[in-house]
């Protein structure tokens, strides 16, 4: 039985309750936070379980490494308080079912790039930055065999993740790559944060895409021509699971000569793209999301951003068109890096 490794004593000893007091979507003071987190620990109903937008940020806010977000999600499921309507949950869970054959496992010597469920974006992994890097999950028909499942945190379904994740890990491990560079934050977060938090063994070494890109850019430093753009980064929810890798965003920007604009919703204060919030059961979720996105995009615009840089394809899908309508060009980080070394993007 897979269980969340959670030390409630760390919460009882906490004086700040940053997990809830720093939440950007609920206005909670420390006294209230103390009461509510204890309710959640004791498997009692709490307004937090109803109002959580599932942005993952409390995983980063917690000073004690105690996985408050995983706890919230698990309790939402235990108490049958899913944030999303049941049909969306059913749809999402069924989406992850592989149905077009078994993956073809080829053993890899050295590192490999894991595209997860983003095989259709394979065209983005061209050029010098990815030269010689074998790709696993390159076939869209088989990509669900590499689906990290972490999306189900938005669905209050840790049970689904825990049930399916071991087979996914087994598939990736079967390639026997020395290390696995994950194209998406979500996959990286799964294998370095979620799996250990639930006691699931991961027999391969994971590398964050941004760390990989940064090191490759260092190798190609002579070819970099500063881009001189002003950019805003749309930080994805799953980046909260690996805050130690977030500094690579600025390091890459510095290396390729783009200026990260000074704005309010950046770093720890980043706002969710709203992809799943819009569909939540809570009254007025769609309007709330539109207002949230407007606030986020105006912040980028007012700060003078010319480009909005994405890592997460879901964020791009949600905010790409709206930011473009604001006159800000959406671009993936990997494409931005390719531009810096003089390559054309897809």
């Amino acid at each position: 039985m897979t269980e969340l490794i959670f030390d409630e004593n760390k919460c009882f000893a906490c004086s700040t309750y940053d997990c809830l007091t720093k939440c950007q979507y609920m206005d909670i003071d420390a006294d209230t936070a103390k009461v509510e987190i204890e309710k959640i620990i004791n498997q009692e109903d709490s307004f937090v379980l109803h109002d959580c937008v599932t942005c993952y940020a409390c995983e980063e806010y917690c000073q004690n490494g105690n996985h408050p977000f995983y706890l919230i999600v698990r309790q939402q499921e235990e108490l049958d308080l899913p944030p999303l309507p049941e049909p969306l949950i059913k749809r999402g869970v069924q989406m992850g079912i592989p149905f077009r054959g078994e993956p073809e496992i080829q053993e890899i010597k050295g590192p490999a790039l894991n595209l997860g469920v983003f095989s259709p974006l394979g065209n983005m992994t061209k050029g010098k930055l990815f030269e010689g890097l074998p790709i696993i999950s390159h076939d869209p028909r088989k990509m669900f065999h590499y689906f990290c499942q972490l999306m189900y945190l938005h669905y209050a379904r840790t049970s689904v993740i825990n049930q399916k994740l071991p087979a996914i890990i087994e598939t990736i491990a079967a390639h026997k790559a020395d290390e696995v560079i994950h194209f998406h934050d979500e996959c990286y977060g799964t294998y370095v944060s979620y799996a250990p938090a639930f006691g699931i063994d991961v027999p391969f070494k994971s590398v964050h895409l941004f760390e990989y890109l940064y090191n490759k850019l260092l190798e190609l430093k002579d070819e970099i021509k500063p881009l001189n753009y002003k950019v805003a980064y749309q930080r994805p929810c799953s980046s909260r699971l690996s805050p130690d890798k977030h500094p690579f965003v600025e390091k890459i920007f510095d290396l390729i000569g783009v200026e990260s604009v000074e704005r309010e919703y950046v770093g720890e204060n980043a706002l969710c793209c709203g992809a799943t919030i819009a569909g939540q059961k809570k009254k007025g979720s769609r309007r709330f999301t539109l207002d949230l996105q407007e606030k986020n995009m105006n912040d980028m615009k007012d700060a003078g951003a010319e480009l909005c840089v994405f890592n997460c394809p879901a964020c791009m899908q949600t905010l790409g068109k709206p930011v473009a309508k604001k006159g800000i060009m959406p671009i993936f980080m990997s494409d931005l890096c390719r531009l810096a070394i003089g390559e054309k993007t897809t």
Binding site: L84, P85, P87, R91, M95, G279, K281, S285, R286, R287
Partner: protein, 453 residues
């Protein structure tokens, strides 16, 4: 083969546009569905009404069948030459004669393809649109009307055959007739209020060949987007359609459910096309739909918003042809009250399961919830006779089901036509027979279709 007829056809349309060669007749002997091949004796491809008229006079003289063919995409065998004869491919009669932007209509020859009209309007009249069917762009305007087709403006404006301002038809005996204001020399702007003589729509070419059409056009907004909802309980689909149609803010309303991919299995996806000239207009419409009409479903957790503001994507039932390999699929279309959706879905799953075919059902709202065009698609492997047999049986069972549940079959194949006529009021049937006999005394026009015993 009669060499006199071949020579006469060559004299009418020119050697390049007539054929009696097996390798070319082969192409016309099949459609994409389960029907057995039916070979024409000749294929002729006329360019003008006059050429077409001459072919019809020739066919009357020789008492040889005539079968008009549009895009050849009906799937149900409607345009197969069941009794041989001259197959008339209408694709060269493809002139867009006039677009009247102020009166919002397009006068076109019947062989104009949906894709050609779509592209022409987009390039030359971007504020105008016609109701585009889901069929591939090669489907023709005339063919679509001959089967009472519907398209992506069916919710606000009804069947495509409700959008006609005037028709030109060649009768089976060769006379050219016009209907609507054009018949009195007043232009092509209205079908009404002259006496109704539209005996040609829905007949599948059995009473004459449509040669020109004045088709209503509608405002085309600058931004056209797609939103998608999902529900688990099929019983909610009619209610949600009722709520959405109450505010009349969508251009197209479609529901689908299919076994493959798993994401859509036992779930009902509702696709709503929303358009506006500005973001404000779009958001105004969405507020009425989501906050005013549907919020209770979201808050109860019985329906969810999958996505909003997506690029338009046409329903692609053809993709389901892949699920059995061998690339075949055919469907039974029907028209029912919207309230019938849950039962139709359940029966569709039952029939598909019985025949080991992954189920695929689709519905499109016609008018303000006045009806739904509901279809059951059956994939089959063309190379496997057993698979074709299963699909055929499933299609016939579904035809029977439509009548049993009080619906009507849309563009029925011969089997479906027969059971529709079996259920038809005797006096109506007699009138159909009288009309057919009067218009087509030599029974040359698409014989085998809509034949009253």
């Amino acid at each position: 083969m009669n060499s006199t007829i071949y020579k006469s056809l060559v004299e009418i349309v020119g050697e390049d546009y007539v054929s009696d060669r097996p390798e070319e007749l082969f192409t016309y002997s099949k459609d994409l569905g389960t029907s057995e091949p039916k070979w024409p004796d000749y294929v002729a491809v006329p360019k003008s009404v006059e050429e077409l008229q001459k072919i019809i006079l020739l066919a009357n003289k020789a008492t040889i069948p005539i079968v008009p063919l549009g895009g050849g995409l009906s799937l149900a065998g409607i345009a197969l030459p069941l009794h041989g004869g001259i197959l008339i491919d209408m694709k060269r009669m493809d002139e867009i004669i006039e677009v009247n932007g102020k009166a919002r209509y397009a006068l076109v020859e019947a062989g104009v393809s949906q894709g050609k009209l779509f592209a022409y309007l987009r390039n030359h009249h971007p504020t105008l649109a016609h109701s585009m069917p889901d069929a591939p762009p090669a489907a023709t305007i005339g063919g679509n009307l001959a089967i009472h087709g519907q398209g992506d403006l069916a919710h606000p404006h009804g069947f495509n055959s409700d959008m006609i301002n005037g028709l030109e038809v060649i009768l089976p005996t060769g006379e050219i007739c016009r209907f609507g204001s054009c018949s009195i020399g007043s232009g092509w702007f209205t079908q009404h209020p002259l006496p109704d003589m539209a005996f040609f729509l829905g007949w599948g070419g059995a009473t004459g060949i449509i040669t020109k059409v004045s088709l209503r056009l509608f405002p085309c907004k600058k931004i056209r987007e797609l939103d998608m909802l999902v529900v688990t309980d099929e019983e909610l689909v009619p209610d949600i359609f009722h709520e959405i149609t109450h505010v009349g803010m969508t251009e197209d309303l479609v529901v689908f459910s299919q076994a493959i991919p798993p994401m859509t299995d036992r779930l009902h996806h509702i696709v709503a096309n929303i358009s506006g000239d500005s973001e404000e207009e779009l958001e105004f419409k969405r507020r009425l739909i989501y906050e005013d009409r549907l919020s209770k479903y979201f808050e109860q957790g019985t329906a969810g918003i999958v996505a909003t503001s997506q690029d338009l994507e046409k329903p692609a039932v053809t993709k389901t042809a892949d699920w059995k390999k061998g690339g075949g699929f055919e469907y039974v279309g029907s028209v029912f009250p919207v309230a019938a959706y849950p039962e139709l879905y359940r029966k569709g799953v039952e029939i598909s399961t019985r025949h080991e075919i992954p189920y695929t059902v689709t519905g499109r709202v016609i008018g303000a919830g006045h009806a739904i065009m509901f279809s059951w698609s059956y994939a089959f492997n063309r190379a496997d006779p057993e698979s074709v047999r299963h699909a055929n049986e499933a299609l016939h069972e579904t035809d029977d089901l439509v009548l049993e549940f009080g619906g009507t079959i849309w563009k029925p194949a011969v089997y479906g036509q027969q059971i529709v006529m079996k259920h038809m009021d005797a006096n109506t049937l007699l009138l159909m027979k009288k009309l057919k006999n009067m218009l087509d005394p030599n029974n040359i026009m698409n014989p085998g279709n809509w034949e009253v015993a």
